[in-house]
């Protein structure tokens, strides 16, 4: 038996969370130290997994399969390939940086980290699941702690509303998808929830067309597909910083990934039938959300809508059903995750110092926290697809894939990129440059060393992927090629 590295990655956060719960609540230093140790371990293990994956061999690697509920054909089955491995690395990164920037949480520190870590286990588990039942198990495990994180540590003005809205949306979505999964289980006659086996089930065309929309939209809620994206800007606005980073940076990708992994790959025939409509919805995401971002005055809402807009590109890439489009979508998920985490981290730092997120009341932060300004600018440039940063590396093949089938959509989507440039640059100028309002001048100071470490790490990855895509693109390409084979296009 090989070393079960994926299992260790999945359960490291959970175990750390449980240890943290056992610690005395007033020993905050020890709690934080334990959290950091757990997060570091998970990050290191995901880095090791990432770089020991053999791209040339391809396929699912580090596979573990153990019967779980054999009577129902449920097993614990995990494995990584070119599409989900970058997301594992992303989760490790966001978890690690999330702990660093949450250092200052004083209120119920112990419970905060414990919930955050349960969430991380859910996300890791969902990304590497090859069993449908297990996927749902971890998926729900990820959604529930978010409710608590928002409603307990969120922004007092709207946390209850936002937490409820977010949770209801996501639960309804996942219930729909679960019903679809059960339908698959019974229809396949294979008595298994194993996705690799269900891939071969050969569902009838009528069955696929009936259930595809249910399963796809169920997951797409979490991906923020128009018009089901409504929960997300409210949710982010209310969530504490680390939760926003996790939710926008990682969970949304989980939605898009699951929609692709389950609905598209198990119902390829229906996917070909419905996906042109998904492309249209995703296009609305890209353009409509970026236009809305343009008129927001709350910093977090701008970033929230910007994230919705970028997820539109991810969905569009998947829905293009072309190898380059899927390659682009895979890279965009990673790039969007890192970029959004960085955005929310810096927004949190600004908010902690200014106690407001209204853009007109901010200004001049570059003088007080230059590093935050520089890294935020890098994330902004990445989000507008500037060459040299990860956004370009992702969006170029993505649009290339869309071009092959829907030239007009590619052209319209590219316009969304220019709108992004406009609002991001205006935002950077208004928040970081200009003069700082007098009432902020005396109490705004620079960020801590831990904050700096977190945002430097994230910014470094944006640049590293942008300058040299060779450390990720071939991997994602191999995953995209495998997906194309399953889809039979």
């Amino acid at each position: 038996m090989t070393f079960p590295i994926l299992t260790i990655i999945i359960f490291t956060p959970l175990v750390t969370g449980l240890i943290i719960l056992l610690l005395p609540a007033e020993r905050k230093g020890m709690i934080r130290g334990t959290a950091l140790a757990g997060a570091t371990l998970a990050l290191l293990l995901s880095v090791v997994t990432y770089f020991s994956y053999d791209t040339r061999a391809g396929g699912y690697q580090f596979v573990e399969k153990v019967p779980w509920v054999p009577e129902w054909g449920i097993s614990y089955h995990v494995g990584v390939n070119g599409l989900n491995l970058p997301l594992v690395l992303l989760t490790g990164l966001v978890m690690f940086t999330g702990v660093l920037i949450s250092w200052g949480i004083e209120e119920r520190t112990r419970e905060f980290f414990a919930f955050l870590f349960v969430l991380a286990t859910g996300v890791f588990g969902a990304f590497v699941s090859l069993d449908l039942f297990q996927l749902f198990f971890f998926y729900e495990l990820a959604v529930f702690p978010m409710y608590l994180l928002i409603s307990l540590w969120g922004w007092p003005k709207m946390r209850e509303y936002a937490a409820m809205k977010l949770t209801l949306y996501l639960f309804v979505g996942s219930v729909l998808a679960l019903v679809g999964a059960l339908a698959m289980y019974f229809a396949s006659g294979l008595h298994t929830f194993d996705m690799l086996e269900l891939q071969q089930a050969g569902f009838s065309s009528a069955f696929q067309r009936l259930w595809f929309p249910v399963v796809f939209l169920g997951f797409a809620v979490l991906g923020g597909l128009f018009p089901l994206h409504n929960w997300s800007p409210d949710g982010y606005a209310a969530a504490p910083t680390a939760a926003s980073m996790f939710h926008a940076g990682v969970l949304k990708n989980l939605g898009a990934f699951a929609a692709f992994r389950v609905a598209v790959m198990l119902f390829p025939e229906a996917a070909r039938f419905y996906l042109p409509w998904v492309v249209v919805l995703a296009l609305i995401n890209v353009i409509y959300a970026s236009l809305i971002a343009m008129v927001q005055t709350d910093l977090k809402y701008v970033i929230g809508f910007s994230s919705v807009s970028h997820m539109g590109l991810v969905m569009m890439g998947f829905a293009s059903l072309s190898a380059t489009g899927i390659l682009g979508a895979g890279l965009q998920m990673f790039s969007h995750g890192v970029m959004t985490a960085l955005f929310f981290a810096v927004v949190g730092m600004v908010y902690d110092r200014a106690h407001t997120r209204e853009i007109p009341q901010l200004g001049g932060f570059a003088k007080k926290m230059p590093l935050a300004a520089v890294t935020f600018t890098l994330a902004g440039l990445a989000s507008m697809g500037m060459p040299g940063l990860s956004g370009f590396v992702a969006e170029f093949p993505l649009l290339l894939g869309v071009w092959q089938r829907y030239p007009l959509v590619a052209i319209l989507a590219a316009i969304g990129v220019v709108v992004t440039a406009a609002y991001i640059l205006l935002l950077i100028r208004r928040v970081f440059f200009g003069s700082m309002p007098a009432e902020l001048e005396h109490h705004v100071g620079d960020i801590t060393v831990r904050d700096k470490a977190a945002i430097i790490l994230l910014a470094f990855i944006l640049v590293a992927l942008g300058v040299y895509p060779g450390w990720m693109a071939p991997l994602v390409q191999s995953g995209a090629a495998a997906a194309m084979k399953v889809l039979g296009v």
Partner: protein
Amino acid sequence: MDFLNAHLLTLILFAPTAVALLVLLLPARQVGVIRWVAFIGSLAPLGLSVFLWFGYRPAEPGFQFQEFVPWYQAIGANYHLGVDGISVPMVLLTTLLTSLAILISFSIRERVRAYMVLFLLLETGLLGVFLSLDLLLFFVFWEAGLVPMYFLINQWGSENRNYASLKFLIYTMGGSLGLLLAIQMIRLVVGSFDLPVLYSQWNLLKGTLFGVPVGTVKILAFWAFVIAFAIKVPIWPFHTWLPDAHAEAPTGGSIILAGVMLKLGAYGFLRLLLPLYPAEAHDFAGVLGGLAVAGIVLGAFASWGQKDFKRLVAYSSVNHMGFVVLGIAAAAWARGSASSGDAVLALNGAVLQMFNHGLSAAGMFLLVGVLYERTHTRQLDDYGGLFALAPLYGGILIFTSMGSLGLPGLGGFISEFLVVRGSWPIFTLYTAIAMVGLLITGAYILKAVQKVLHGPVNPQWQGHSLEIGVREALAISPLMILMLAIGVWPAWILNMINAAVMHLFG
């Protein structure tokens, strides 16, 4: 030595980045050290490009000093560099003007480190465009150069900088969208980004693409390229970002904007548009030529009408770059026909005009900056009679203005003459109108000289020391020497340009 020859272009390209990283490590308070490290560091790419100039063999066809490394293999883009006789002068111009602009930027006092870092990164972005032989790499550098320039204008510009910088960025990015989409389309159709491959294959396409005849697709792609480049050049009526950006940028930024950045657009015409779309360029050469002439005449009139010295110089770029486009349009029209000899002449003129305008526009912006730093006004009416107060400055200003005006004996004359001589048999009417534009060029330059230097001394400036400093005089002297050198004996540079033009378009 072998290493140097094998990696010369990479060294030139990334030397500024390396210096930028070095500057970034210096303590922000050591302003003097930062300035000198940036300046001396910027001499490295300049020295290397002089080495390139002498190492380049004009007589041999094709691209030289090529480097090829896989970069983004998943979509087939490579790090492919190479130079020919069109890009070598542009590389030299870029590295020279960057060093001079850094020298002139010693007067920047706020956040010197950030300024110098951005400036050096800008240089890498600009050089990358001239060195790339891969379409995607070209686009990467094309876009990447915008960012440092945006921040240079936005952070160190004058009052209206917010408006000007955003307009500059959105205008150019918007213009590049079509280019991006067209590049993607070419990639889908040909399956490669490599320019030598595209040169040979893109024109062989026949039949239909995306259910549309190839000809129609190519015309659309052609215009996507034209718009992107036309905004950068800028060709009338895509020039409206230019007066704002140039006028609001800090002096160093204006020097690079006018001296190098505008050349990117013209270079795009030469490197991509003419080779990739010969038929479409021929069909639409009349339109391009007409726009060029409109730019020459209207740019001159607009320049004449300015009250602000810097805006006057800014509009003069529209006027001068019009000649570059006129030469290119004439060549596009006549290529392969009986008058292809004239086409080659016009193209030689266009390339040389790019170089010459780089020298004269950089010089003019430098001089405007010198004056502004001492008087804190750019209104022509606030000056007057300054010759008496600053005789050396006056002499330099007259010399540089004459270079810009196209006085025989200085570089501008040679290139404008070549363009006009080459275009005359091809576009007689256009050329005749452009000559009228030249008259107005004379008028606005003389107006500026007269308003600044002559007339009664404005009493406001009595007792002020307005004379140009040693550092500033040193910064402009290479420009003046080159203007004179090209004006008196143009063969040293035309040999190189002509060989490349003959190989590509002869």
